[in-house]
């Protein structure tokens, strides 16, 4: 064991002991009246408000979605921007040396390669699975209000379907369906959709991302339903960006930025 590892072990053990000592002051596991769940006397936890009032405010049964896209909409918007920025960073780090822009001569390998039986099984399975996965992803995005789901989860599932295409055949097969220009475009459009909802509220003389004001635009029954529909729009924006960037991360990492051959 090297000297640095011994010091690291000492530091980690001391930190761990301090944290474990602090743990004994924490509320018990599953305690519904812990400060995080119920607040302290005299000051109710904000999560209590979310559970009791958010359906009345937004008409969205999935409380996680309503908190994510409405109460914490500003936060979620910049989380999406972080993902976008991460995608751009990977593009800048790896793409700079990749020599992209040149035409890719390599032809797409078919799903079925004669004589390679493992390829036939994998290719057929993936070809059957991919449409189902994509349909499920769209369901998760669109049904995020009523069931577990939303833009982030659905976007990742949708990106996974493209990654499966790339894994079962090769990267070109996936890039033919979602090309580099297109995923960059989709990533930008996603952010613009999200920010657009915010700006639209400002145009209607309200606060940024105050969806209730969109009632005259969306022609809904009341400001609550306007919030509900705006959340769907915002989630779709998130899904666009997440899908594009997750696939971009895979495509760039697996081909060292060249977007050729892949794994």
């Amino acid at each position: 064991m090297r000297l640095s590892q011994i010091f690291a072990t000492i530091a980690v053990v001391i930190t761990g002991c301090i944290l474990l000592y602090g743990v004994s002051d924490f509320p018990g596991f599953g305690d519904p009246h812990s400060p995080a769940n119920a607040g302290v006397p005299g000051s109710e936890s904000v999560s209590q408000y979310f559970i009791t009032e958010s359906y009345g405010d937004t008409k969205v049964p999935n409380l996680v979605t309503s908190v994510l896209a409405d109460y914490r909409g500003y936060d979620t918007m910049f989380e999406t921007v972080v993902i976008f920025a991460a995608g751009m960073a990977i593009f800048a780090i790896l793409g700079a040396v990749g020599g992209g822009g040149q035409p890719r001569e390599q032809s797409e390998e078919p799903f079925f390669v004669n004589g390679d039986h493992s390829r036939i099984i994998v290719g057929t399975t993936c070809r059957l699975l991919v449409p189902v996965i994509q349909l499920f992803a769209l369901y998760v995005i669109g049904h995020g209000h009523y069931s577990p789901g939303g833009g982030f989860q659905g976007g990742v599932i949708l990106a996974a379907s493209f990654i499966i295409i790339a894994l079962s055949s090769n990267l070109n097969a996936a890039l033919r369906r979602l090309s580099e220009a297109n995923y960059l475009r989709i990533a930008c459009i996603g952010i613009l959709i999200y920010a657009g909802f915010g700006v639209l509220c400002q145009v209607l003389e309200g606060n940024f991302l105050d969806y209730g004001l969109l009632q005259p635009v969306l022609l809904t029954d009341g400001p609550e339903m306007a919030r509900s529909h705006s959340m769907l729009g915002v989630e779709i924006g998130v899904a666009f960006t997440v899908t594009a960037i997750m696939f971009a991360i895979y495509a760039n990492l697996s081909s060292r930025g060249t977007l050729r051959d892949g794994l």
Partner: protein, 167 residues
């Protein structure tokens, strides 16, 4: 000592696991020589924090924080128990809404029957952002490998130092 251990561990085993996972990650970040192993440590560290947040929001016997539009019997009973029927009718506009959803028209759900939604929201974004930042880290590692032909920290340091002498 044994008494402390039993008392602390029994009620707080989720926090114990979080601390242990976090320390494994921290140790890997400090002590490991290989950059990819450091990144694995970072991911373990991140997972520990996600576990910490999610386990904070757990309520014993509570369900997921989604109101059931198709009428969950237990939930409906809990609402009925909580809400004062005479008061509940006038308070919310929900009474006028069409549809017989179990929660429409009821005063409000009892917070104790649903898990805390806030940690779920925070961790939902943290997981996806974690994947994206891990991607950035891996791409930097790839470039380092391309530049130095190694992912071992000491070898890279040697090359960097040697290169300075040459210049």
């Amino acid at each position: 000592m044994a008494e402390f251990f039993q008392q602390s561990f029994h009620a707080h085993f989720n926090f114990w696991i979080y601390v242990i996972l976090m320390m494994i990650g921290l140790w890997a970040l400090i002590a490991k020589n290989n950059l990819i192993k450091k990144l694995i440590g970072m991911s373990i560290f991140q997972t520990a924090i996600i576990l910490f947040y999610v386990s904070l929001g757990v309520k014993a016997g509570a369900t997921i924080p989604i109101l059931d539009p198709y009428g969950n019997k237990e939930q409906a009973a809990a609402y009925a128990e909580e809400s004062d029927p005479a008061k509940g009718k006038n308070e919310k506009k929900g009474t006028e809404e069409k549809g017989d959803s179990s929660y429409v028209g009821k005063k409000s759900p009892n917070p104790d029957i649903m898990a805390n939604p806030l940690p779920h929201v925070l961790m939902l974004t943290a997981i996806v952002v974690g994947v994206a930042t891990l991607g950035v880290a891996l791409s930097i590692a790839q470039m380092i490998f391309k530049e130095f032909g190694s992912l071992e920290e000491d070898e890279i340091l040697e090359i960097v130092k040697g290169g300075n002498v040459d210049d």
